[in-house]
């Protein structure tokens, strides 16, 4: 188990670095443009230049550091969840299991919350609604995880290989998504930045997260294959490999 956590931390580090690199290259431009817009607006409104707590340079370093810390935490969670559900993922190799869980995790934790509350660049966002928006985002995240768990259970009950079961599972997931999207409130803030800028930022954000999850899944799979934790990496995959190594 300890080795598994080490693997998770290492893979998480890789994920954090991947997204930090993405931020420094693709994400930097839209963020700089958004901040310039923000400042031009404040200036036009006649507001005194407000003193920032940190300079832009420090914020860029802090941003990268935040992504790495976040990646580390994510990697540990990913490894433990993989240990818990691995044998039921139906993959033949540890890499297969890690990649499958990576897809499920990306869809559940990133894509669904993103579709309901897409990322916004610095110029967008009313400070007065931030608590409300945080709560709504958190609710979307938790509901998405719960939905995936529920649908996962349903799939197991209906039989993973059955045709009717696959349709029923997909239908239930779609219905659950519809409920989440309709039940949660819309983002209360006006989208008052140029759409072009907003979408450049959103695509960069989504790309960074995709890079992080890809790095996470691939690194976890690679490390598990190279250094199987006690109990055998084959157990994580669950099928044929387990028989040969047993």
């Amino acid at each position: 188990m300890r080795r598994l956590l080490g693997i998770g931390a290492l893979a998480g580090l890789a994920a954090g670095v991947a997204s930090a690199v993405f931020l420094a290259t693709v994400g930097r431009g839209p963020i700089a443009d958004a901040i310039a817009l923000e400042e031009a607006r404040a200036h036009a409104a006649g507001a005194a230049h407000h003193q920032d707590l940190f300079s832009r340079g420090v914020q860029e370093i802090g941003g990268a550091l935040g992504l790495i810390v976040f990646g580390l935490a994510l990697g540990v969670v990913f490894a433990v969840v993989l240990a818990a559900v691995g044998p039921r993922l139906g993959a033949v190799t540890p890499m297969g299991a890690a990649v499958r869980l990576g897809w499920v995790g990306f869809a559940t934790v990133v894509l669904v919350p993103f579709l309901k509350y897409p990322a916004n660049p610095p110029a967008v966002g009313d400070p007065d609604t931030v608590s409300q928006r945080t709560l709504a985002y958190f609710a979307a995240l938790v509901l998405s995880i719960l939905l995936t768990l529920a649908v996962w259970r349903l799939r197991a009950r209906l039989g993973a290989g059955s045709v009717a079961g696959a349709w029923a599972t997909a239908a239930c997931y779609a219905a659950g998504l519809a409920v989440i999207f309709l039940a949660l409130p819309a983002n209360p803030d006006p989208l008052d930045a140029p759409a072009d800028l907003v979408w450049r930022f959103r695509m960069a954000s989504l790309g960074g997260l995709a890079a992080a999850w890809a790095a996470l899944a691939l690194a976890t799979g690679t490390l598990l294959t190279r250094w199987p934790p006690t109990g055998g990496a084959a157990q994580l995959a669950g099928t044929a490999a387990a028989e040969t190594s047993a």
Partner: protein
């Protein structure tokens, strides 16, 4: 229409890797750490959180969590 029985692939009954309680504790810790880095907007911790928030500002926006 004929119905075909799909041959069942016998998946060997596998002992799961037991995830001990302390590992789940670490998961909870990791989740809490992500909360502070990404979601804490002063909802629980006010000013101290604000400093963290500004420091991690770019990363937060990039991950897509709500920001001021």
């Amino acid at each position: 229409m004929e119905t075909h029985a799909i041959p069942a692939v016998a998946a060997p009954a596998l002992p799961q890797i037991r995830v001990p309680a302390w590992a789940w504790m670490i998961v909870a810790l990791a989740a809490a750490a992500s909360y502070f880095v990404m979601l804490e907007n002063g909802a629980l911790f006010g000013q101290a959180a604000h400093t963290l928030h500004e420091f991690f500002h770019d990363g937060r926006h990039f991950v897509g969590v709500p920001c001021h």
